[in-house]
Symmetry: C2
Subunit: 125 residues, 2 copies
DNA sequence: CGGTTACCCGTAGATCCGTACGGGTGTCGA
DNA sequence: TCGACACCCGTACGGATCTACGGGTAACCG
């Protein structure tokens, strides 16, 4: 059995209420796909850097984040594939910036708010 | 070589600017740890459900999310370990709710905003 | 009290993910 | 035109992560 082991919910009203408002599995998948892309130190800081300075090439990103170019290149590959980052080629240098349609809520709420949150969390055990 | 292949940045000013504002690798790790916990369809919907109805037991959660109890139990284990969910035992039923210190920004901005975002995104290819 | 319910834990197997490495393409300078 | 540079891609490997399963423990029900 994979879905339920009991078919007499303890609080049917709440179950129904939750069910009716819950995002579909499909929407959830789309959303977690996005979140997964931010749930990585390199990508998070990369996006954060681009949010600050508009545009950076791979080598400079590696310097700014203090990680390997490989790491940056791989991160950019994923973000580009997901349509979150755009590239502009100038000579032999490739500049990267956040896509025009980079989800604004993701940027405003998730990125900035949460980074700020983490900063404030010095009062920890 | 693992960190850089060139040591003459193309745009030193921007690199410096980004570097100075970037969250530390440590903060980033903490933050991505949190985001990872939400970057899973079961956990995201589970948290979303608890955000709506306050309190649910494992069996009812499985019903609401339409996933196995195992899945729910595992998700709850991780969230409990991370201190994001609290349990209350009443008889043989265990009720789960979001922890009092569940990061408010995570809840307000990330959870609600992003779910709303996904809902609005019907205008896709 | 013995059986059933509701749930938890530990473990093993499959799967996904990030990193490192080798090699390739296009561009610029001499 | 030749070499160096900036970057990209495909692949292989190690580690993390999710799922599924078997067993265990309280609590209620007769």
């Amino acid at each position: 059995m994979t879905v339920t082991d009991h078919d007499h919910p303890i609080d049917p009203a709440r179950v129904a209420h939750a069910r009716s408002r819950l995002p579909s599995a499909d929407d959830a998948a789309r959303l977690t796909g996005l979140l997964s892309l931010m749930a990585d130190p390199v990508r998070l800081r990369l996006i954060y850097a681009l949010d600050i300075v508009e545009e950076l090439c791979v080598g400079d990103l590696a310097l700014a984040l203090n990680v390997s170019e490989d790491s940056v290149s791989y991160a950019l590959r994923l973000l580009r594939t997901a349509g979150l980052v755009r590239t502009r080629k100038e000579g032999r240098v490739v500049f990267n910036r956040l896509a025009d349609d980079f989800p604004a809520p993701l940027r405003d709420h998730c990125l900035r708010q949460l980074v700020a949150l983490t900063r404030a969390e010095d009062v920890e055990d």
